[in-house]
Subunit: 170 residues, 4 copies
């Protein structure tokens, strides 16, 4: 199997509205349909569970970067659990390992991941629209992210970031 | 030496306005004058350097939690460099090891640390006043932090958090 | 894709005799032929490179758990680079994420991984035969590992460990 | 307070013979009497507890690098708990942060730390005498460590390593 493109979906584990769970499922599915590998925080909860299930529904490969050291609490669609035993420090691995990152919903852990992703100058999409988050991150990293409600717009933005990164000289 | 109270000052390494460097120096000094140990990210830059120098100016103990693995790039006031070799993953250690946390200024790394601190339900002070940051974090963690321009107000807020944490039954 | 079995091959990056490079290549190939996913430390050197190339030669999936934070120094057969930015601390992830572990050759990093694997009570195979290492680890973890020169014997030992772990009640 | 010299004592938490607990207590005390800071794995068990108590008995500063993320299980002599939440991955921090390392007794975790210390070319003392460990590590890192039963010999060896490291050209 050749080297794969890895797209991370970050989002809260708790208190996630149904609309965002459905969005995460669609995003996971869309990523797998592109032939990309999905990466999540791997826990069987919230956005991690929904996105993994979406990718699994079409046979995708799903990396789950787990915070605990037992590795027995895993989202149901995960094919490759990576057991870190490092708690929230594994957020850094989520970001560094993803070629592009989607934040779906906004929890405190997600904010830490968005910040690290922007700092590492990754391709970042924030979903769904959130004017306050837009203003806040634009003040810190102007023009460095895309915000949308639309799955297609998200995928197109990631594609254009990947084509810049993986383009070959002619 | 008995167990010490550790207060972390988090803040950007680059492009820090002079007013915030001066604020960080005052905060580091005030922490040491309380008899508290200062913890910073340890690099010889920006808020880390200024806060460490402030604490060192009155003989304080300064923990510097360093991201690289050589450990030879250290803020000048650091007495105890902790060498992690873990890059941004060391931000988690900064937060977990501090009994109270001051964010002085706002960079992307700082935002990741504020988020982790609020998630870990630490006592958090944001300085200086920043209406957009106030609105953003209040939406995620209502009433969980104090924002001020004033060093005394910051120290008093931390004291009250510590007294709740360290109070003994009578 | 259903959850996968992950087998780690640990071994030195430098000063590896040719015989051990050839052994690592055979082991990587045998793991992929079992339908297992190979995990290595991911660097383009020594045992990591040889084992990854072996698995890649028969189309296997290869996880490379990288120590640096750029993620651009990768063994040629790696399909899924996991970028940790955590230096030697990533050795822990190598061990926790593998259902079974083969140490091929013996460097200082490898010894740290063997120790962590025995401590985590993983299924461990040491190759090739090394009487001093056998005595040393037997004193610390008697009967907890298998030592052999033979690829088939190694695979059979791992299989029996996996069948204990993944067996289902009837 | 000027920058401090940090000496790490590594050793098992469980099943430690009394003679080694007493040795760890003496070593912790001797380190503090040199004016050095003691670093341990910080847990209230075995060598970590004994060494910390030894240093505390003469008023020393003790860094405890804790594996869990609550930070409420701490050896009684620790003055500065560093809370990592990283499990065994914190062993790397123990080694990188220490200017010299003493392994007192031999458990699997200790072996991982000795290996990392030798790999990082730190000054290393193994105690007490253990012919099998001597042969094993000499095969991997010939002449890179000192083995002894004697506290004074241990301290002298560390001193000579420190004087090489901290000597200034004249």
């Amino acid at each position: 199997m050749p080297p794969q493109i890895i797209i991370g979906i970050m989002g809260p584990g708790n208190q996630v509205p149904n609309s965002e769970l459905q969005l995460a499922h669609k995003l996971g599915k869309a990523i797998a349909q592109q032939g990309w590998v999905l990466l999540t925080g791997g826990r069987p909860a919230g956005i991690m569970e929904a996105a993994s299930a979406g990718a699994a529904s079409v046979g995708g490969i799903v990396l789950g970067i787990l915070p605990d050291e037992q590795g027995n609490q895993v989202a149901s669609g995960v094919t490759l659990p990576i057991v870190t035993g490092m708690g929230s420090a594994r957020n850094t691995i989520n970001i560094l390992s993803s070629h592009g990152i989607i934040a779906c919903g906004l929890g405190l852990g997600t904010v830490s991941e968005i910040s690290l992703a922007l700092k590492a100058q990754k391709s970042v999409v924030l979903m769904p629209n959130n004017p306050l988050a837009k203003d806040f991150f634009n003040a810190l990293a102007p023009g460095q992210f895309h915000m949308t409600n639309d799955v297609n717009s998200c995928i197109e933005h990631l594609k254009s970031g990947l084509s810049q990164k993986f383009s070959t000289p002619t």
